[in-house]
């Protein structure tokens, strides 16, 4: 049950949020090739380390915000609202969805 640092509300239980996903850039729909568009829809870097991603404070202030999180230790080092928030991609989650981030066991130091 990690704490997610909402830029408006402070650190809150992860169950209040929806993890929207890793930051992606929406290609220009007018010129994107199918391969580029599908990379936007489905492909992610998914690093074992620091990643930039979007969160949605579903059960709180209802803001979309960006954050930098270490995927192995679940440490956060930055979260911000407004500007630089990565766009969404793909379908939004069903009603009632939450995020369950489990402990990284035996994880190496970040």
């Amino acid at each position: 049950m990690i704490l997610v640092p909402c830029p408006h509300c402070g650190p809150r239980n992860v169950s209040e949020f929806r993890h929207v996903g890793e930051a992606t850039a929406r290609p220009d729909p007018a010129s994107a090739t199918p391969a580029q568009w599908r990379a936007y829809l489905y492909l992610r870097r998914n690093p074992a380390g620091w990643t930039t991603e979007t969160w949605y404070h579903r059960a709180g202030c209802r803001a979309f915000f960006g954050a930098e999180r270490h995927t192995v230790t679940n440490q956060f080092r930055r979260s911000w609202s407004g500007g630089e928030v990565s766009p969404l991609a793909g379908t939004p989650a069903e009603l009632g969805g939450g995020v369950d981030a489990s402990t990284a066991e035996g994880a190496p130091e970040p």
């Binding site: 049950m1 704490l3 239980n13 929207v20 568009w37 579903r58 969404l88 793909g90 939004p92 402990t103």
Partner: protein, 930 residues
């Protein structure tokens, strides 16, 4: 069978620190016979006072087992108390009238037939079940029945009363796991520094090992208890345990034995966690070490000091530390003849114990054999580092101390105190704990280092004995497993099941690691331990499930629906009226006269701002720039992969003011979707969104008489067909309620008005409609009738007639999708879908035999038995007197008139024909537009 309890032959006179109340005797039964104890006795201590030595039979070999640790973890003392299996008899207090029975015995505790397992034990090595009982497969049910008898635990009663398990959330600044001297001192220091403290202790009283100490320890204990009680900021939870430490100090505490309910699960977000569980005494491994009468030094001291029970008549003590020596002294004071104190620090050793039901004789390292009925071991301590492990620490083995100590990687908000952290005098450990408590509360202050004292490394003697008493795993089994190639500690654990019993390794892990290390020629450090995972203590499923806090939503008209016999439909969190009687009759009433349906769960979003048309154009597949004030339009939303997301009607209510409706189940999803665009991709658009789903009660008034009915209730809106055509919205008052709006749309295919009334007046308007419309035939209809009617009209339902892969064109929406728009969600994929062609499409289907109503999800198959589609919606149509369906079929089968084969779930096959339109009834929409 005697009716009197046996005399308390082993009960001692009053002890200084005893926890029993001799003024309150209690009677209970054990294995069918009456026994007596005192309030404060555990089940095991009460039985031991009467001379009982055998409490259970072991798991595999059915060896007799007695008291080993006299604590919660005692593996041989797990019993059935009434309806409750797996009760820890050496911890659970005796209750008057309880009926306690042994587990895993057949036919009786004294004579257990299955102990014959012992004779064939060489054929039952660990993992034998991987190698036997495999073939023939058809005998598995038999094997299962036999094995069940031989490896049973307690009994779960099907008629046990349903218990209430509670849940609580807490936010203590400091949580101390362990209420011994270090835990208490840390808690007091933290509270003195101003922190809110939760102190969690597994036993019924605070005090830890001080409780069975001498007069000095008991006096110090009284001081510490008073100091804790004097701090209002310390919440003490006894008979409770920390069962797990999760990310960011999310800590689970299990509170047991509450009067109103069996267990409460406390979920705490803790500032700083102090882990002070003390040290657990470790059993010694030698032949016969599981015989009743072989006990740890802490067990005899607990029995004597806390419960005034004499553990035996004649004892031999193997001592490697001061606690063993103290136990020998306590035994003598209790009138036990101490035949010999074998000093392990000087090379003394115990080789084997003999005795079939109970200890009869012990053979020492120098060859002497001593007759006795009690063998006491004090060979060392295990550090229960589980919670530290869960906090990411890798404890390090210190060979000179023969135990693990906290490592270097403890998180800053997790601290260790007491014996877990190091050694020293009681004063030194208390000082250290106070510093830890201050640091936990304030984040400041240095914590002094603790010494680490040497201790002999005694794990296994010269013979093989039990390492895991719960799982019946001997040291020989571990050596054999290593020889078979299971030579890593994680593999040995899983192959032999060592440490996988009720104590979860607290008594077994270090011995298992030591034996494995020896067998593989490695050091204990190199061998390492298995990973510790929550739960750290046993927890019932009831505690995990806890209380259900699930909201239920219903419209303001729900009381009316219930009073009029509506059959409820659970739709997500909403309760809706599915039907009031016969849905077919409801359909007929709507098509012939007028019906009203409560559609309040319909999603409604109030959109304001100059850029709303841009938003609508971006999210819907069709065009919205030219929607005039007073008009409404149907729209479909697709996701960025072109998959149909939601549909609904959106109306232009006024300048810069729109109302978007969504499906009921999509209400929250679409709101989130809209917000995501406005907050991320299109932050420059000026649009303000307010969800008003529950601000309005929504009622659909449908049928040829709907205009007449609504006209009676609305004075300020001209409902004539010229003034209020199809697909328009008007605002006004209904039944005297202002600020209502109504739009003319037609899900059911009849002349109809969807009215949205401020929610507080919903019931009033509902009742007014039925009252005023009585002569027009006004009657309610439910969700089922509505679904039949919409199916007759061929209206698809997103999520029913579309799925997670249905892109727009597949849902027969080519008339709606405007690819000449600049950009909208899903445009790219829809354009490519359109180019590709060949996709399955939604069509209307009429079974050839109109009396057959195929099950929804029935597969459509071709001549070669390949699946070429499926039925998505299917109902009997009272209007047409035949079945009507919607379904997907492969592209080459979509021509109207094509006959397809439908396979029903019972295997029958029927044929059905593709209809010219999706709508089976009034495809021109004449009735709608009147």
């Amino acid at each position: 069978m005697s009716t009197k309890p046996p005399p308390a032959t082993h009960r001692l006179g009053p002890q200084l620190g005893e926890v029993i109340d001799r003024t309150r005797p209690l009677r209970f039964t054990w294995d069918g016979a009456p026994h007596e104890g005192y309030a404060g006795d555990t089940i095991a201590s009460a039985l031991a006072a009467g001379g009982v030595r055998t409490f259970s039979r072991s798991f595999k070999y059915h060896r007799p087992r007695g008291i080993l640790t006299a604590s919660f973890h005692d593996p041989g003392c797990i019993v059935q108390a009434g309806d409750e299996p797996n009760v820890r008899a050496a911890h659970r207090r005796v209750e008057a009238g309880a009926s306690v029975t042994p587990q895993n015995v057949w036919p009786s505790l004294r004579f257990d037939v299955r102990s014959a397992n012992r004779a064939v034990s060489r054929f039952l090595p660990p993992g034998f079940y991987y190698k036997t009982f495999m073939k023939p497969e058809r005998l598995w049910p038999t094997y299962q029945k036999v094995l069940k008898r031989f490896a049973s635990g307690g009994r779960v009663s099907a008629t046990a009363a349903i218990g209430y398990f509670d849940k609580r959330y807490a936010h203590p600044e400091v949580l101390v796991a362990g209420g011994g001297p270090a835990g208490m001192a840390a808690a007091v220091a933290a509270a003195e520094a101003g922190a809110s403290v939760m102190l969690v202790e597994e036993e019924y009283d605070l005090g830890g090992h001080l409780r069975w100490g001498g007069a000095e320890e008991l006096a110090f204990l009284a001081e510490l208890r008073a100091a804790v009680a004097a701090q209002p900021g310390i919440e003490v939870l006894t008979n409770s345990a920390v069962t797990g430490r999760y990310d960011d100090n999310w800590v689970a505490v299990l509170q047991r034995g509450l009067p109103q309910h069996r267990e409460r699960l406390i979920k705490a977000r803790v500032g700083t966690l102090i882990v002070a569980p003390g040290l657990i005494e470790r059993p010694y491994v030698f032949e016969g070490n599981d015989t009743p009468g072989v006990m740890l030094s802490t067990a005899v001291r607990r029995l004597i000091k806390l419960y005034a029970v004499r553990p035996g008549e004649r004892a031999v003590v193997l001592s490697a530390n001061a606690d063993g020596d103290a136990a020998a002294a306590d035994l003598e004071r209790a009138g036990v003849q101490v035949a010999e104190v074998v000093d392990a620090r000087r090379g003394g050793d115990v080789v084997r114990v003999r005795g079939s039901r109970s200890v009869a004789e012990v053979e020492l390292g120098d060859g002497t054999k001593v007759a006795c009925d009690l063998v006491v071991m004090a060979v060392g301590w295990t550090a229960p580092t589980g919670l530290l492990n869960m906090a990411g620490d890798r404890p390090a083995y210190r060979p000179e101390a023969a135990r693990f100590l906290p490592g270097e990687s403890l998180a800053p908000n997790v601290l260790a105190a007491g014996g877990l952290a190091g050694d020293g005098s009681l004063d030194q450990l208390v000082e250290h704990a106070r510093a830890v408590g201050r640091r936990a509360a304030t984040g400041e202050g240095a914590v002094p280092d603790l010494e680490v004292h040497a201790h002999p490394a005694l794990f296994r003697g010269r013979t093989h004995g039990m390492v895991d008493l719960s799982e019946d795993i001997s040291s020989k089994d571990i050596v054999a497993a290593a020889r078979e190639g299971y030579d890593s500690v994680e593999l040995v654990k899983r192959y032999t099941t060592v440490t996988m019993g009720p104590a979860q390794g607290k008594l077994e892990t270090v011995n298992a690691v030591a034996v494995l290390a020896e067998a593989t020629g490695r050091s204990i450090q190199a061998t390492g331990t298995t990973v510790w995972r929550p739960p750290h203590v046993p927890i019932t499923l009831g505690a995990l499930a806890g209380r259900m806090f699930e909201p239920v939503r219903h419209s303001p008209m729900q009381s009316w629906h219930e009073a009029h016999g509506a059959v409820p439909l659970v739709a997500g969190q909403w309760i809706r009226p599915d039907r009031y009687g016969d849905p077919g009759a409801e359909v007929r009433n709507v098509r012939e006269r007028v019906g009203i349906i409560d559609v309040t769960p319909l999603g409604k979003l109030d959109l304001r701002g100059p850029d709303v048309p841009k938003l609508l154009n971006q999210l819907y597949v069709n065009k919205w720039s030219k929607l005039e004030v007073g008009a409404v339009r149907y729209g479909v939303m697709c996701a960025e992969d072109g998959v149909v997301l939601d549909d609904g009607v959106t109306g232009h209510l006024g300048p810069d003011h729109y109302l978007m409706s969504t499906t009921s189940s999509g209400a929250a999803t679409v709101w989130e979707w809209v917000e995501s665009w406005l907050q991320t991709e299109r932050r420059e658009w000026r649009v303000h969104v307010t969800p008003v789903t529950t601000a309005y009660a929504s009622i659909n008034v449908a049928g040829p008489n709907s205009r007449e009915l609504l006209g009676r209730l609305s004075d300020d809106v001209d409902l004539s067909s010229e003034a209020f055509p199809y697909m328009r919205v008007r605002t006004g008052s209904i039944a005297g309620v202002g600020s209502c709006f109504m739009w003319r749309i037609g899900f059911t295919g009849e002349l109809s008005y969807e009215i949205h009334v401020p929610a507080a007046y919903g019931l009033h308007v509902w009742e007014a409609l039925l009252d005023q419309g009585a002569d027009l035939g006004a009657a309610p209809f439910g969700v089922e009738a509505q679904r039949i009617m919409r199916l007759e009209k061929g209206h698809a339902i997103v999520g029913q007639d579309t799925d997670g892969l249905t892109q727009g064109y597949g849902a027969a929406l080519d008339w709606l999708i405007k690819l000449d728009k600049d950009d909208f969600a899903g445009k790219t994929e829809l354009a490519w879908q359109h180019e590709r062609g060949g996709y399955p499409m939604l069509v209307g289907l009429h079974p050839t035999d109109g009396s057959v109503v195929p099950d929804e999800a029935s597969q459509i198959v071709d001549a070669r038995n390949h699946i070429v589609g499926r039925i998505t919606s299917s109902r009997w149509s009272p209007t047409l007197g035949r079945s009507v369906c919607l379904g997907f079929v492969a592209r080459h089968l979509t021509e109207p008139g094509t006959v397809v084969t439908v396979q029903l779930p019972d295997g029958r096959r029927i044929t059905a024909a593709v209809t010219p339109e999706l709508a089976s009834f009034d495809p021109e929409g004449v009735r709608l537009r009147g």
